[in-house]
């Protein structure tokens, strides 16, 4: 970590977004993670995505579990309320928070230890339930805070820093999210900001459960030869199926793609993302095909990244529960309490 705090001076020509916020308005405390940690790049990408989307920082609620990744919400969006809950249980806390106030943007940040082991149950169930959120796992294949034990996403045969070989099958969170009904699934690499920032923007704009698995190397315990979550390994095996680019609404389209190879994705602030196909055979609107693709390409050692799946017409938990539009946390006794009049019938029916 660094002990140097950034000066509060602001360059007069610094870029501002539609709300007049600068990039700095989306930052949080100084990170205490190791220098070079992939997680810090993801925090930067989240900050960038929120800035680009012109989200008012205080309208985001950021929640996490326990672990290195779960510390990171402290390092971004300093004007947002954060909740560092208990290990593996962020999804249930986020579910409750979302039920209380459907108007905020919910960002869940977790890790592979937090989500793929102790919290696997909550991970799948909050997606099943259709909670409107952006759920990011910072996936490094190891337990960092306890110094380098394999996590459940570590590939079979991969080596630990001390030379141990992982015998267990890995758990693929992206496949799992697809299987249980996520309406948006992405996968990216902490070292590929160009790919990651638009993915996060699209996930935040998505009106249902959006999941992004971000491979994020642990420089302290999982960045060596024999690891499949090391920087070098991921760069060599990263196979992007598509690419999202941010287009400002009035910007002239400068990049040209061959016809039929790109399409546009509308975001909540009116801006659009362009989805460019890098693999012609890949259809991100076909859940079953996406699952099969992840499975077959994963088996051959490729790390499939990009927008894996999206259902643009997705609904969410509030629609399923048919709740009122007004946030539940704003209702008072006037709206909630049936009063003494309501008891007359209750009492009469029980005599």
């Amino acid at each position: 970590m660094t002990y140097i705090t950034k000066p509060k001076l602001r360059h007069p020509a610094i870029a501002v977004n539609k709300l007049g916020f600068t990039h700095r308005d989306y930052e949080g405390s100084v990170s205490t993670l190791c220098a070079g940690c992939g997680h810090d790049s993801i925090s930067t990408a989240i900050i960038q995505a929120c800035f680009e989307l012109s989200i008012a920082p205080h309208r985001v609620a950021k929640l996490s579990g326990i672990g290195c990744s779960s510390k990171t919400p402290d390092y971004l969006l300093g004007q947002s309320h954060g909740f560092n809950s208990v290990h593996g249980r962020m999804p249930s806390v986020l579910t409750g928070a979302n039920l209380a106030n459907r108007e905020l943007i919910y960002l869940g940040v977790s890790g592979d230890g937090d989500s793929a082991s102790i919290g696997l149950g909550q991970f799948v169930h909050c997606i099943r339930r259709g909670v409107n959120m952006t759920y990011i796992t910072e996936n490094n294949g190891v337990y960092g805070l306890t110094k380098g034990q394999f996590s459940a996403t570590a590939d079979q045969g991969s080596k630990s820093k001390t030379g141990g070989v992982n015998a267990d099958s890995p758990l693929d969170l992206a496949s799992m999210a697809l299987l249980v009904g996520a309406s948006f699934v992405g996968r990216s690499f902490s070292g590929d900001k160009e790919q990651l920032v638009p993915l996060i923007m699209a996930a935040i704009s998505h009106p249902g459960p959006a999941f992004i698995d971000v491979v994020s190397p642990c420089v302290a315990f999982n960045n060596h030869a024999g690891s499949t979550k090391a920087y070098d390994f991921v760069r060599d095996h990263n196979e992007a199926v598509n690419r999202l680019d941010i287009i400002e609404p009035r910007e002239t389209i400068s990049v040209s793609y061959a016809p039929g190879t790109s399409e546009e994705v509308q975001l909540h602030d009116g801006s659009v993302l362009r989805l460019a196909k890098l693999r012609q055979d890949y259809d991100p609107y076909d859940r079953a095909a996406a699952l099969a693709y992840l499975h077959s390409h994963g088996a051959s050692g490729e790390l499939v990244t990009g927008l894996i799946y999206m259902d643009p017409g997705a609904g969410d938990m509030h629609a399923n529960l048919n709740t009122v539009a007004q946030p539940l946390n704003t209702l008072s006794e006037k709206e909630l309490c049936p009063g003494s009049a309501g008891l007359a019938g209750f009492n009469a029916a029980r005599r």
Partner: protein
Amino acid sequence: MPGPITAINDFVVKFANVNGSGSASANEMFARAILRMGVPVSSRNIFPSNIQGLPTWYEVRVSGQGWLGRRGGVDLMVAMNPQTWDKDIASIDQGGYLFYDSSRPVPASKFRRDIHVVPMPLTEICNAAYSDPRQRQLFKNITYVGALAYLLGIDLAVLEQLIGEQYKGKDALIAPNRQALHTGHDYAREHLSELCGLKVEKLDAVGDRIFVNGNDAAGLGCVYGGATVAAWYPITPSTSVAEAFGKHCKKYRVDAEGHNKFAIVQSEDEISAIGTVIGAGWNGARAFTATSGPGISLMQEFLGLAYFAEIPAVIIDVQRGGPSTGMPTRTQQADLLACAYASHGDTKHVLLLPEDPREVFEFSAHAFDLAERLQTPVFVLEDLDIGMNEWLCEPFAWDDAHVYDRGKVMTAEELEAGKTFGRYLDVDGDAIPYRTLPGTHPTKGAFFTRGTSRDRYAKYSEEGSVYQDNMQRLLRKFDTAKSLVPAPVIQQAKEKASFGVIYFGSSSPAVREALVALEAQGIHLDTLRLRAFPFADAVADFVSSHQQIFLVEQNRDAQMRSLLSNECVIDPARFISILHYDGTPITARFIIDAIAARMIARQEEAAE
């Protein structure tokens, strides 16, 4: 051979049935008919953890004097289950009655000489009247209710009216049920007259009281208390709390456009349920979960977080027999310590101890005010006896002037005006800090909620003095809670008493009945009914002003004695524990015997 028991408005009828046979609604109708005649009853289901085919009992105590606890003993056994015949026969009081299905001959050795039999060929009668096997079974129940009505003198018109009410909307069922009722009644008049010395006579002792179970009351209390989020996982005996909440919400909480002013999530487990409640509470909604002992065990880690991070939550715990899976369909008060000190580290939690469904309703609603005022989990401790049995209690009431106490939530206006915000800062001297809700203000009042130690401004810190400062404040906050929770109810004996009784929860009716009986024996006792933890100072005063205290609880380890001794720093030897924990509700007889034996022994010691 002892003569037959004769009693008016003071006896116990026990029905022995097979579960899943449709007996429950007929039996409840029997109890309600007696209530409608103005005679108080209390009823208890004794049922297995099973859906169909196992033994189940329904006990109705008829008490013109109004005693509502379980009495113990059986005056009339309605033996409809061959599986439990021997045990059922054995449980009848001497001189009591056995009503049974005499369609098939029962060997003489299967009866007792000191009881009186009332045989009725129920199966034969129903087989002759109905051809459908399901009808033969279902109408058998209502047929024996008809016969009992004759035997006990229950008004047939009242039963007919109850049938009309029960099948309202399914009108086709009314006539055949009334027909079956008459069949039983006629048979008894022709063949069984003068066989039973137990009688129900009209009284005016019920008043406007209602017959209701605690879980229904808890669900309604949560509606009245303003709960908008419920997250729960099915577990006996608490399942019907969440179901009742849903039912009452459908009635009271759907807006004109058909949208719900509530959200109910059936979670994947109890851990998730309490997590969702905490997330909602953190974000300013009133939220609760309902569970039982095993669920409390699972929720421990989250409860510690809610205590330490100071997040409101309401937990309705319907206690059952523990430990482990224990006796899932039997009653106990055995979660006291698991709730009071839930989670690792130093924690203390607010417990509310209702004595009947009416208090369950009041306390459940009040729990949300307390949870938000104190920013901490609040437990409402029911037990299976209150939760799943119909109790006769005062009608529910609500003060329409009551405004929810949403606690110390700093608003955008206050922040804008420059009011100092420190999430864990004790501004008012009551150790309760201010909180802000997510999304309140663009640049002020945001903070990071965590289970790790932090300073008064919510900044992470493992500094010893900072940690202790916070822990001490939490203790002071618990002190503040003392004045907010329901106060104990103290009652002085008619004569000066050097002994006292402390009791709580579902033991109340049995204790009250016991006190009257003991008084008649010349044993005078002051009483204190606990209604909440933390304990008011009056509790320690009560203990210190008596030579010794009988402490009545329904668990093995005298958990309340541990809690009282520990929290009020009282010598445990000052308490004489009266412990009833076989899973059945405590009885007045049990309490009378236990107290009288000790008091008489003492008097003898004193005389020597």
